[in-house]
Symmetry: D2
Subunit: 341 residues, 4 copies
């Protein structure tokens, strides 16, 4: 009979929400190998539930994207990397919402891309989740059109305490991860984040039931989520920018502005990572990445924009133990857990 780790369930109360990466007391201390079953409230703290609930009335900035955590991982020290394997990411509700938010989003002026124009109208859309069909249902507000979109749940935010003594608002993505809004943060993915403080202090939140690329209006289909995850500490290896790995690809997320700098960060880091892992020269890797990588845009609406550079493993030498083989180890452990839960 296989041994398997206990699963620790944690459902934060509203007063336990974290609103920054860094600068928060840990919600819990865990050991590498522990399995957490975490509830995350939606980006609006569950306060927007009908098309009459508008963001500007329901929410007080900066209390958006409440985080579950942070978690102090025993043994994680600055200079290490934390590997977080997402075993499962499932909607915790049968509804979700999206909104426009005044002066937020990609197709409006914002507080950073500031103009003298008035904000766009504020609206709220409620989505029904059809768990059986694996769909969420979009209803137009101004006409009777409706359509089913695929249920593709992921975590908008996953991050650790930043470097350099910083604490960052939970709306920000950067080198510490955070509000990257990448659909790659889904079940089956391992996220690697460089550890900047003792215990790493990771947290998650901002569950999305589905989203197009770029999170164009600034708000995905936002919903509470249950996430099953486990972690490992990779000692003395430090990821400067978030790396992600699933069974078919390795990825780096770059988050900055302008958008081409996010692209440059992600792809430069990917080239260097592949070159180190495979022994291919930098120039040969630059060429291979040029012809074979994908560059999904995660968001063009946050404090920093995020692009993921993604290389299918099938184009790389086989059997490279990326990040010391952490993903495969975590994947195997996850399969045990899934079988028993």
């Amino acid at each position: 009979m296989a041994m398997h780790p206990a699963v620790t369930r944690f459902v934060p109360t509203p007063d336990q929400f974290a609103w920054t990466f860094g600068g928060c007391e840990p919600a819990m201390r865990i050991q590498p190998g522990d399995v957490l079953d975490l509830y995350t409230e939606d980006a609006f703290g569950g306060r927007i539930r009908s098309s009459g609930d508008l963001a500007s009335r329901s929410i007080v900035y900066p209390f958006v994207n409440p985080q579950t955590g942070p978690f102090y991982v025993e043994g994680a020290a600055p200079g290490d990397t934390l590997a977080i394997h997402l075993i499962d990411v499932q909607p915790a509700r049968d509804w979700a919402v999206s909104t426009t938010v005044p002066l937020f989003g990609a197709l409006t002026s914002t507080k950073f891309t500031s103009t003298l124009q008035p904000a766009l109208p504020e609206r709220t859309w409620v989505y029904v989740v059809d768990h059986v069909a694996g769909d969420v249902v979009y209803h137009a507000l101004d006409s009777d059109y409706e359509v089913r979109l695929p249920l593709e749940p992921f975590l908008g935010t996953i991050g650790v305490a930043p470097a350099a003594g910083e604490a960052r608002n939970v709306l920000v993505p950067e080198a510490f991860g955070g509000n990257m809004d990448t659909p790659e943060a889904r079940a089956g993915t391992t996220v690697y984040l460089g550890v900047n403080v003792e215990g790493a202090l990771f947290s998650i939140g901002d569950g999305h039931y589905t989203m197009g690329e770029g999170e164009v209006c600034g708000v995905a289909v936002e919903g509470a989520m249950n996430t099953l995850l486990t972690v490992e500490v990779i000692k003395s290896v430090y990821c400067e920018w978030p790396r992600l790995e699933d069974d078919t690809a390795i990825m780096v997320a770059g988050s900055y502005r302008p958008l081409e700098d996010a692209f440059r960060i992600a792809h430069t880091q990917l080239v260097r990572w592949i070159s180190e892992g495979t022994g291919l020269s930098i120039m040969d890797t630059y060429q291979l990445v040029t012809q074979a990588s994908r560059s999904p845009i995660a968001n063009v609406c946050d404090a920093n924009y995020t692009i993921v550079a993604k290389m299918p493993k099938r184009y790389l030498p086989a059997d490279v133990p990326w990040m010391g083989g952490a993903h495969d180890r975590l994947r195997r452990r996850a399969s045990t857990i899934q079988a028993t839960t």
Copy 2:
């Protein structure tokens, strides 16, 4: 027995190459409905054929991306839109090349993102095409790694004469199309370009046998191409930015700098187009695009950067005759032609 149009083959001699969009005499006058079978030389004019041929020695700027064309389409007038349907886009050779070019590409300083650093090394990679397997073969230069990448041929450049009396170098993508480097310009796609001058004066070139997103090093797997296409003029409808349509999606290409402006252009245009075509309100469309569109990055290396905003038709009301139903008409005509050629 079905009637079908004659197919006109055109293979330009080097002195017939066009090097700008706009400002060139037409290579040929055609009628809407004519079918052209066009040869395009590779981006280097066929002058780089081995790893010893370096771009800076083989090419004299701006003589890159030679265009086949331009073609004067009878009846196309300013204010109309030209629909170009790509019936087939096939490699004309069993080899192709890629290179680095000094101070060109996304992961180097360039003549626009100018720094005091020296250029990266100049290298040339030769790819062998395996038509049977549908692959191109990458060989590393500095080690013995090789890998097969999928043969996915498309046209890097497709454009018309620009507005406002401009003539633009063939390395530039903008509202007139041009060097967009989007893999969506493949067989089966219809490209819609607003007509700015009598006859539209479209041309094509810069065939790519395969390419990752972003054309990271600035050069795809470049090869000569044979393209079968036909055109239609949509009277009195003007596309401000290039639109693309295939059987499953409608798209808009935005090309500008910084990269977020390319994103804004593409997605704002897509929202407006869908709203006009479906009767959905702008805000409802903004929401639907947010949750369901894709945003593939085409290039982050050219004079302007290009992003495509892409909406699957399955999320839109059925039976909308996008651009007056031109794509379906052209598709049907193409199927006749393919059957007979």
Copy 3:
């Protein structure tokens, strides 16, 4: 008795206006050393004369910024540089106008920084010129505030035919000069532009009676101008980007997007120019430029944005003959002309 060249007066009729840099037949052929006395119509072709004349009704895009020229300079060949010395730049009227233009300017979304928001209101302000006091008078439209601003006339556009066979709309600044909107293009300045086509084909226009930095709303105090200038051809020296020189400073104008790329171009070029001219090493020049240069923003509203990198001559080794001493030669010639006209 000093000999001095004849002065050629040229006042274009509306059908003689040029609307592009490049792609136009020359208005006149001149010899180096000739002195031209040129009339330029205002940016609106003189069609906006009262606060009731709105840009969108009075102007048909792209017919803005009519150019006087182009002038074919005998002996100017690709690879040379044209030195244009502005002897005098004087208002040709006692009034001028400014406006807002829908979706144009720095504090609004535009056709490139595209959003779903409506345009700002369209307004027109008429300025009275007080030649004696050297002022223009601003009147508020919505209240009775008025204030005098200094009359500081300059040419918004000055450029040659672009490289690479391009023709660019007169709203564009780039390596060929064009719509740079820098107040440095004033009386006493020499503008150096690399020659791309036989005869250089330079033109001027878009006179501004005064302007803040950045041309924030996209429109300066626009007025017809009389400009006295003379030119010289510097053989076999090619300025990649526009250089400017007056009695106290040398400058380079960089025009691109994003704005930091304009900054990078201007300052990289300035560092290289100073290093070449003085023998200072690149790193020593980088340091000196860091501590002593100025970086006036010219515009953040055009198709490309423009920044000027400016180094006071007093911080540089004395007696460097910048651009072969052309400015001093032209200045001396100008003083003769001014004395006699």
Copy 4:
């Protein structure tokens, strides 16, 4: 006989340096009206003193720009604004240094504008201060050129704890002020910063003896400084972005990326501030700012870039009590202090 406040001298020991804005315990509690005489160590903590001391060997990131402070101002509460009046800013040494830092600065790739190119060479320049002449002396390293640059001392960093629970590294400028690197932070200027936490927690540092615009290589002429300042709390008025005022101008500093967003922030805020202060309509103010404001670039090298929008008071209605007349009050108090110290 005039009463005057006591002057409190504070010289931090190295273990008292603050390395973030926000997230630090106060070094001291003060009352509005108190006068502080503060010593700030140079950006390198005084560790670089000769051309043989290189930044990468002398400094461990992020321990750059040590701050003196933070100071807890009694009575300052979130929603207020802190007015900091710089009475005097004087070099504390007769030497200063500048360096290049690998992958930092405007004319190199950086960790955000990331490329595959190697870093520029690392060098250190030592400047001698001539207090009598009011100069600093630049010596080239690779040749024997030297030149005097004007001694124009200012504080590169001045900031409060950020909003939203953030703590930011001292290299960052943003809405809370911070590493803005604007020469406007000189003797005679009042800096207004919105208060985000009880006590405001302001700090200063990064003294510059002189600097060109843009801080091109990323490092000014860095030196220890003695700063005499006093503060006032403006209750219930909140500056979203840093405002500055001296006897002749009002200003707003915008800090973000890309550089045009810094420009947009600064100028949008300036337009709104002037409109509120004068009763001019937004559109009339937009026009007046367009023709009369200046836009000095502060830095294009930091984590965010900074531009200052600056309007001379002489173009605005007289006797507007900007920020409740705080600058004039503080100026009068300062004149008393200067007379007695």
